[in-house]
């Protein structure tokens, strides 16, 4: 197939570069040394993770460069499974967000997180569907991609490394991510 044949070298380099880029904007959320999940360095010096990852007002974050910082939970919404954390100035560029609704069914996506404590693990796949699971409920980005405990709160990114969602949970072998548009609205409203 020409797509793979023509691009196999550059394609593989792209995936390695993509993984490296995403690791820099992914943090480990911990409490008293225990791994709770992952988080994304969001623009304007904030961190976004899942509500189910942070159940206390304060947690620790381990950055990709090994530094640890304290973070304060400033907003938490269990309906959308999102939490916004305040962190001190760390001097690390934040993630780039994708324009809402730019991923399509079939688009390549990558997730980085700390599944089962494995630091900065990459998984790749494609968007399987965008919409609710079953007839009702909220819209998810459903990705044909493997997630495990520890991925929660980490980034789901497109082929250019732009954030398209925040990984929330697995449904069977599907990964469910909160779409970036929902995350952006949550962050906007949390700021007031």
């Amino acid at each position: 197939m020409s797509v793979r044949d023509a691009d196999s070298e550059s394609g593989l380099a792209d995936i390695a570069a993509l993984a490296e880029h995403l690791r820099l904007v992914t943090v480990e959320v911990t409490d008293a040394g225990a791994l709770l999940g992952s988080g994304v360095l969001w623009p304007a010096g904030r961190v976004v993770t899942n509500a189910h990852v942070v159940r206390r007002p304060e947690v620790s974050l381990r950055l990709a460069d090994g530094r640890s910082v304290r973070a304060r939970v400033v907003a938490r919404d269990t309906d959308v499974d999102l939490a916004l954390l305040d962190i001190p100035e760390i001097g690390v560029p934040a993630a780039t967000l994708a324009e809402p609704e730019t991923v399509r069914v079939g688009s390549f996506v990558a997730a980085v997180g700390h599944p089962l404590g494995v630091r900065g693990a990459l998984s790749t796949g494609i968007v399987c569907a965008i919409g609710p699971i079953g007839r009702n409920g909220r819209s998810w980005i459903q990705a044909d991609l493997h997630l495990a405990p520890g991925n929660s709160g980490g980034p789901l990114a497109d082929a250019a490394g732009r954030i398209v969602g925040v990984n929330s949970r697995a449904a069977g072998s599907l990964a469910l991510a909160v779409p970036v548009s929902v995350v952006a609205r949550f962050v906007q409203e949390a700021r007031g």
């Binding site: 197939m1 020409s2 793979r4 792209d14 079939g106 494609i126 399987c128 569907a129 044909d144 082929a159």
Partner: protein, 288 residues
């Protein structure tokens, strides 16, 4: 744009292109399945997902619900063909499945469209494609699509618990050709019941057989093609035509609908001695 973004765009475009010819099929009580507009007015799906015998509701990519009729089935390869009047729904672009190689990137589509991806992991016995990808609930009967959005097969999770399989487009074409030629899909049969049997090492060596197993005839229906050919209980069928028969499934998949009326050589062992019998594949009488 980097190579990965190009691949991503190609995959999304392939889903969009192939998805235009994809139906959701409500052929069983709980979980629906997927179908492909294969030729004008003919939708192909997985036979094991169609529990009804006559009318079935299918929903097009535009959301329109249509009534389709079961026009024929070939359970030997898990294909059912539905007849429907579906103006405005494009027909899938079907590719030459013999060009599919191990390692090719493929997409599986479910109605919606939904999609998963992976590679062809092996070209299996019985002409099936083995896939390294996830067939999500409802994906059975949907198209296996190459990176250009062309249909190379029909996915089925029904044939095996251990493998994700696709029926190659060429095999589907054969079934659809039969349907269009005869107006129905005949069911080929010999009229025997068989069980797997291990071939003794001495017999294998003496007759230069490289297969470990074959099937033993435990019943011959009277008046059947097998009876007419002189097959008797206790015969061990080693091959039929050019197909090695190592278990009853091999025999079943050798009896394709387009084989009806064909004369094949059945190589059997009778009392440990090889014997060739000419058998004319018959059409199983229809029930009711």
């Amino acid at each position: 744009m980097n190579g990965l973004q190009g691949l991503s765009n190609d995959l999304a475009a392939a889903v969009e292109r192939a998805g235009r010819a994809v139906f959701s099929v409500a052929g069983r009580a709980r979980l629906g399945s997927t179908g492909v507009h294969w030729r004008p007015g003919l939708v192909v799906t997985a036979d094991h997902t169609v529990h009804v015998d006559e009318e079935v509701t299918i929903t097009g990519p535009d959301g329109r619900a249509l009534t389709a009729r079961v026009a024929g089935r070939d359970p030997t390869i898990d294909v059912a063909v539905l007849k429907v009047d579906a103006p405005g729904v494009p027909v899938a672009e079907v590719a030459d499945s013999s060009a599919v190689r191990v390692g090719h990137i493929v997409l599986a589509l479910g109605a919606g469209p939904r999609a998963s991806w992976g590679v062809v992991s092996s070209l299996g016995e019985g002409r099936m494609l083995h896939l390294d990808l996830t067939l999500y609930p409802g994906f059975s009967g949907g198209p296996l699509v190459d990176a250009q959005g062309r249909v190379v097969g029909i996915n089925t999770s029904g044939a095996s618990r251990h493998w994700q399989l696709a029926i190659p487009a060429a095999a589907v074409n054969r079934v659809v050709d039969e349907l269009q030629r005869r107006g129905r899909i005949p069911r080929a049969y010999l009229g025997v019941s068989t069980q797997p049997v291990r071939l003794p090492e001495l017999v294998r060596q003496r007759l230069n057989l490289d297969q470990q197993t074959a099937v033993i005839v435990v019943e011959v229906q009277s008046g059947s093609p097998a009876a007419a050919a002189g097959v008797t209980i206790g015969d061990v069928i080693v091959s039929l035509g050019t197909t090695r028969i190592t278990d009853p499934t091999d025999l079943k998949s050798a009896l394709r609908p387009d084989r009806v009326g064909e004369s094949l050589t059945a190589s059997v062992l009778r009392g440990g001695e090889p014997k060739d019998l000419q058998v004319t594949v018959g059409e199983r009488p229809r029930r009711g």
